[in-house]
């Protein structure tokens, strides 16, 4: 894990003092709301429907047990006892008082955390694979370069007032679990035959009102040029990105308007000026940062563990959970475990109570090496659990209410906070997610449907990433009432695809039925163990549309 040094600590401490002063000036009226707005956004503070929301950065989704306890203490002392993990691997608190924010930031700073640039028109939290450094299919650890990028992009004076927000993600495994292609800059990291670290750089992805998947701009960029190349992209974007219309201000619109070739040659011309300058990374800097990310002291595990085998044989529920919620590990005898934040019932997706956060922190210390990851699917990952401990771990996770065996299934709903909190929302998301989870509570049916990602957003900002859900739901407002538009066939990863709209929108009450019909068509049409998304790709939208809307006509 990365540990702050004197520079990191000085920066967050000074930042807290600076924002404390800015809040005081806002409260005294010296700063107008217009002047204060970008300052508070760059410190993670939004004004929502009922209160301020504070979004805390979790760089590349990695937390220590103590950091998670700090997050729990903030939930308990300053909010209503819970926090919401987001699709950018961050955490949000929804019931915050402006006057208390400097104290919250101070508590974060004491735990080597901050809320810097979690909002605003600047470079946001750098995100990567929740299974970084442990996934069996990973080529190399992306975290040192993610941390180098985090530092470089933090309070970088030239790029704090970009045309729009700017998101960067890295991935270095054969499967892309970081949704790289929906980022403003996406970085695929790998090694060539000589062991040199290289990047394939993607640019111009983003969801929102105009969803676009990114395009390759530069293949095989040597790692030493990471910062100068990103700087070149940002300078071209800062100078030429549109500022007249916030819906056309993301870099994806600039890339589309110029065309990828013209945009790439602008970047290449800019890069030529800086590529061999002081921004070029050094071995020494890489080693300094990488030294923070050494593997933990894994213990040799027996080739076969009798206890584990027996538990699998005797406890079907445990077996189901192992199948759904564990992920293959680099080190023999270990797995990574995903704790579902989506048990259904009254719990909105991504919401975790202070007590649960403390239980997860304890589990991470008791069974792992004290580390927790946040997945962009809004679940928590414990990266290093020995198979020999897995049964006891599962029992403890069950007690904490975090052992729902639904990772990747229909009830593992990804949803934005929606109209219950967010002032941008056109509709509610949480009750819709809950209705779906209730409808598909039957484990046999759920497991039979297999992998289906279901994403809900309720405004064009697409925080719930509905465009890349196998089933995507977008809440819209029509004449003051809430409607839900469906897309199907979206996907994340290296085979990313944007879902296609199936037809007119539905009321909230109809949503579970619509999904039931989509599920029925899938079960009739699927070929052997084909996944939902593959069936959609093979048979097209028509059979799904026919079923969903035929019913509409009959009823009308």
């Amino acid at each position: 894990m990365y540990h702050y040094d004197e520079y990191d600590r000085a920066l967050v401490t000074e930042r807290v003092a600076q924002f404390r002063d800015q809040v005081a000036r806002r409260l005294s009226g010296e700063l107008s709301e217009e002047e204060f707005l970008p300052l508070r956004l760059q410190n993670g503070l939004y004004l929502q429907r009922h209160a301020y929301m504070l979004r805390v950065a979790i760089p590349y989704g990695t937390l220590s047990a103590d950091q998670l306890r700090t997050l729990a203490s903030i939930a308990r002392d300053f909010d209503r006892g819970y926090g919401h993990f987001t699709t950018r691997q961050n955490i949000q608190y929804n019931w915050i008082e402006l006057e208390q924010v400097p104290d919250i930031l101070e508590r974060l700073a004491q735990a080597d955390m901050h809320a810097i640039q979690t909002s605003g028109n600047c470079v946001r939290n750098i995100s990567t694979d929740a299974f970084a450094a442990v996934a069996a299919d990973e080529v190399l650890d992306p975290r040192p370069l993610a941390e180098i990028l985090r530092q470089w992009s933090t309070v970088n004076p030239e790029f704090l007032y970009l045309p729009r927000k700017f998101k960067i993600a890295l991935c270095s495994a054969s499967a892309d679990r970081a949704a790289v292609m929906m980022h403003d800059i996406g970085l695929y990291l790998y090694r060539d035959a000589n062991g040199e670290m290289l990047f394939d750089v993607m640019v111009g992805g983003g969801l929102g009102r105009t969803p676009i998947l990114s395009q390759p701009i530069r293949r095989a960029l040597p790692w030493r040029h990471l910062l100068s190349y990103v700087e070149a992209i940002l300078r071209v974007y800062n100078r030429h990105g549109r500022r007249d219309n916030k819906y056309k201000a993301r870099i994806k619109i600039l890339v589309k308007a110029l065309g990828i070739e013209a945009f790439a040659s602008e970047v290449a011309a800019e890069w030529l000026h800086i590529k061999d300058g002081p921004a070029e990374l050094t071995e020494a800097e890489f080693s300094r940062v990488a030294a923070n990310f050494l593997p933990p002291a894994y213990l040799p595990q027996p080739a076969t563990d009798l206890g584990y085998g027996t538990a699998l044989a005797q406890d079907a529920q445990f077996t189901q959970w192992v199948q759904r919620n564990t992920h293959a590990h680099k080190v023999p005898g270990y797995v990574s475990v995903t704790l579902s934040t989506k048990p259904g019932g009254d719990t909105p997706p991504g919401d975790v109570t202070a007590a649960q956060m403390e239980q997860v922190a304890d589990l991470a210390e008791r069974f792992g090496f004290g580390e927790i990851r946040v997945a962009h699917e809004q679940n928590l990952v414990l990266p290093d659990i020995a198979k020999a401990d897995l049964y006891r771990f599962w029992q403890a996770a069950c007690e904490a209410g975090l052992a729902t065996a639904n990772i990747g299934l229909l009830t593992d709903v990804i949803a934005c906070p929606g109209g219950d909190y967010c002032s941008l929302a056109n509709a509610k998301s949480i009750p819709v997610a809950q209705a779906i989870q209730q409808r598909f509570a039957d484990q046999t049916l759920l497991q039979d449907l297999g992998e289906i990602s279901l994403n809900i957003s309720v405004c064009m900002n697409a925080c719930g990433h509905h465009h890349i859900g196998n089933i995507g739901i977008l809440g819209v407002d029509k004449n003051g009432s809430e409607w839900y538009q469906f897309t199907i066939g979206g996907a994340q990863g290296k085979q990313s695809a944007l879902g296609k709209v199936i037809g007119p929108a539905f009321s909230a009450a109809e949503v579970p039925d619509v999904i039931a019909h989509l599920a029925d068509v899938y079960r009739e049409q699927r070929f052997e163990s084909e996944r939902f998304v593959d069936t959609v790709a093979r048979v097209g939208l028509e059979p799904f549309k026919a079923r969903v809307y035929q019913r509409e006509e009959v009823r009308a």
């Binding site: 470089w152 992009s153 007032y161 100078r239 921004a279």
Partner: protein, 171 residues
């Protein structure tokens, strides 16, 4: 008064004397030297100035849509360059300043004008501005407090071309 902060060799101070008048639309009867938009500046110069043979009496002000490179052939004759922030949320002026200092080698006064406020001054300073005409309804004395900013800069800037990793001891 232009509500002006200047960085000098002895640090920042409020400018008591400043003859320049920002004139994005040229006044009929100017009372002192003018800071003009690029098109007005070009229109008012003699052939000798444009050729680089004579210093200009007028300063130029870049608007966000202007390219810093458009000034390249006039740097030797310009007395001052201003960069206009119509709103403090438009960040193009930061890149213009960086380019003027780091790439085009502008050594003279680089002045931020327009919506220039205390909480952005440190970023402007790091991008190479050395004069700040604080928005007229704000106190320049108060704005001075925003000039220092934070002591840590991870990345690099016009006034500190080396990223932190090259400034750490021994590297």
């Amino acid at each position: 008064m232009n509500n002006l902060i200047r960085l000098g060799s002895d640090g920042a101070e409020l400018a008591t004397v400043d003859p320049w008048m920002l004139a994005l639309t040229p006044p009929e009867a100017p009372t002192g030297p003018l800071i003009l938009s690029l098109s007005d500046w070009l229109a008012r110069q003699t052939e000798a100035v444009l050729r680089g043979a004579q210093t200009s009496a007028d300063a130029v002000c870049l608007q966000p849509d202007d390219e810093a490179e458009q000034l390249e052939s006039y740097l030797a004759v310009l007395p001052l360059i201003a960069v206009h922030f119509p709103t403090f949320r438009d960040g193009r002026g930061y890149s213009q300043a960086y380019l003027l200092r780091a790439r085009l080698g502008w050594q003279g006064e680089l002045r931020a004008v327009g919506d220039v406020l205390r909480d952005q001054l440190s970023h402007m300073r790091q991008c190479g501005f050395d004069a700040f005409a604080v928005r007229e309804d704000k106190s320049a004395e108060d704005a001075l407090k925003g000039l220092a900013g934070m002591s840590v800069l991870y990345g690099r800037s016009a006034i500190e071309p080396r990223p932190l990793f090259r400034r750490r001891g021994g590297l």
